[in-house]
């Protein structure tokens, strides 16, 4: 399976600031996704990162708060904007092939704490 590298692995940020998380894959992948895992909770899909076009956001998530880029088939970024303590979570990127019955693989995640 693809090797997925996320940076940073963790960060502590001040409220009101923004942080960009990077996801790099060692091979071209069709699908890239961003998930959020709030403390003690399960994973929730934020958006699908589309190569060369705007991301597709899930209900409850908006582009102004979570802008996403995907300039090519191996790289994506997620920015968490104007952060508040409620944004303290683990953010994970995942990748999948183009067919509907392929496994989805995850990076190690970015643990974000907002003071």
């Amino acid at each position: 399976s693809a090797v997925i590298s996320q940076k940073p692995s963790r960060d502590i940020c001040q409220r009101g600031t923004s942080l960009t998380i990077q996801c790099q894959v060692d091979s071209q992948v069709t699908m890239m996704f961003w998930y959020r895992q709030q403390p003690g909770q399960s994973l929730t899909l934020i958006a699908t990162a589309n190569q060369g076009s705007e991301a597709t956001y899930e209900s409850g998530f908006v582009i102004d708060k979570f802008p996403i880029s995907r300039p090519n088939l191996t790289f994506s970024t997620l920015t968490v904007s104007n952060m508040s303590p409620e944004d303290s979570s683990i953010y994970l990127c995942s990748v999948a092939g183009g067919s509907s019955n392929q496994p989805q693989h995850f990076g190690d995640g970015t643990r974000l704490s907002i003071l």
Binding site: L45, S94, A96
Partner: protein
């Protein structure tokens, strides 16, 4: 909203025993995937079972799928301390967008030496 419901929420057993975790879901699916997460780290993919499959094995792992009951189970045999982790089921459906995963709440498994 979360589609998958898992039980138990927490499970503690002795090393060497078998651990069974269950997952239920609400809508038709393309496949169901099981993941392991060690203490706030990333998710490790364990098994994908398609909607037309009933059982799959991988090493000490056995997954079953009953689409009539909309449920799945993950069995870990001969458990080891290293199996201590949270386990999540996730479903993929055409209705949701074939590759989007909807996760259950997870089961926290503790293996006692």
């Amino acid at each position: 909203s979360q589609q998958g419901e898992e039980d138990p929420q927490a499970l503690s057993i002795q090393e060497g025993e078998n651990a069974t975790m269950n997952c239920s879901y609400k809508t038709s699916i393309n496949n169901l995937q099981w993941y392991r997460q060690n203490s706030g780290r990333g998710l490790v993919h364990l098994i994908l079972i398609r909607s037309n499959e009933r059982e799959k094995h991988s090493g000490r792992l056995r997954v079953t799928l009953d689409t009539s009951k909309k449920s799945s189970s993950l069995l870990i045999t001969a458990s080891r301390a290293a199996d201590t982790a949270s386990y999540f089921c996730a479903t993929a459906s055409l209705a949701a967008g074939a590759q989007k995963l909807v996760f259950g709440q997870g089961t926290r498994l503790t293996i006692n030496p």
